[in-house]
Symmetry: C2
Amino acid sequence: MAMRKVVERQTGVALWRQIADRIRLAISNGDYDAAGMVPPETVLAGEFGVNRHTVRSALAALAEEGLVRAVQGRGTMIERKERVSYPISKRTRFSQGLGRQVKEIGTQLIGHAEVPASGEIAAALGISPGARLVELRTVSSGDGRPLSVSASYFPADRFPRMAEEYARLGSVTKAFATHGLDDYVRVTTELVARHADADELALLKLSPGAIVMEAQSVNADLEGRPVEFSRTRFAADRMKLKIET
Amino acid sequence: MAMRKVVERQTGVALWRQIADRIRLAISNGDYDAAGMVPPETVLAGEFGVNRHTVRSALAALAEEGLVRAVQGRGTMIERKERVSYPISKRTRFSQGLGRQVKEIGTQLIGHAEVPASGEIAAALGISPGARLVELRTVSSGDGRPLSVSASYFPADRFPRMAEEYARLGSVTKAFATHGLDDYVRVTTELVARHADADELALLKLSPGAIVMEAQSVNADLEGRPVEFSRTRFAADRMKLKIET
DNA sequence: CTCAAATGTCTATTGATCTAGACAAGTGTA
DNA sequence: TACACTTGTCTAGATCAATAGACATTTGAG
């Protein structure tokens, strides 16, 4: 006897999207690992108590994401199931840590600018509001799928060439080194989860209604002086964050 | 000139719900602090490029949550704005840390059982699958609003009276002490964000489509032996997590 | 009091979502 | 090949979401 899985009506979230979310979660939990396929549409329709067409809409959305692939006559196969685990620790460095989970890591600089510090960023970095900052905006991906989009801010007086060096070296750690900073540690990270905005949907290639986890973090040199403030938004259905204390 | 704020159509997420999410975020960011009220419905309708009735649906949902209150003739006032910050560190203890952010903290034991360890939990606790565990299910709230729902698992051989002691003392730390465990530390925390399921919606009194942050964590004694596995789900629109490394 | 500005309520219409049923077409097995 | 099982496609109708416009009601300021 299959358990009736609950979906809610008249909530502003279409049934097909709720069901897509549930199936995505089940895939990532490994619930369908035995067969390597999603249950037949008629079975899912029965479990969720909806029409088969509604389930089809959900599966179509997941196929669009590249998570499953339907084959007429056979069924709907799972193409990808894992969430990438991203470690957050005192020595968080982006490219490390992802390690063997993805074969190929890409980071792309999508923009940079010199901007005045907002009140929030100034407070986090311990500088005065309006002080000059170098802003770097990047997108990171693993095996071709966007994983996160980030905006980082560095005091311009201490790290004036951050944008050029990052563009040349492809690494914040290495760009810091060219300014004479050889080591740094993460001081604080604040995490919030929310729906992605239009910008994030586009950059992360997410389907609308998707969730991002936003981490606001501060890195400091070994004397404790803040050197970087960053706002990284992770595609929540592709990543989990592993906090090491 | 008001900036046009983007909402997406035909995404399975109703416009009114997207707008409700955006307004909730703006409130929590303090964007409307100057006036203490949400902009008039006609202004919001203009900003989002939708009909006033659609904005009204969004505001009705926020009023239902207790976040705003509309008064005819005056406007829509903000009732509550803050997100509670929850610290995650080596010494994470629930009731501390929330500290002065909420006046009154409530934790409610909603159920307990003795269950066999699943493969996942067994691996996390370093015991054999099927070993007996004490399961505690709790809901925590601040100033009357549910903040998190949690399921915790303790090896039954070492902590046989966990459920009774927790019910009596209202604290995991104190219940540990009655079993001769005076100190413990958090070893790992894994974080995932996703849509809340029907159960979580009910327990956390969330409106459907809402987001939860799920933290899976392991606590160990000072010799490094795992003593607790827990799955805590935070209401994402009421909490931020502060990671201290 | 008068008026502008705000929320509250109603009707009507359009498009998206969901249900229902039927049948076509591909796959794997007996 | 015959058959069961699966996904693909089509039509039709019911319900929800969003737009549009009109007007009532309440509040606060002049």
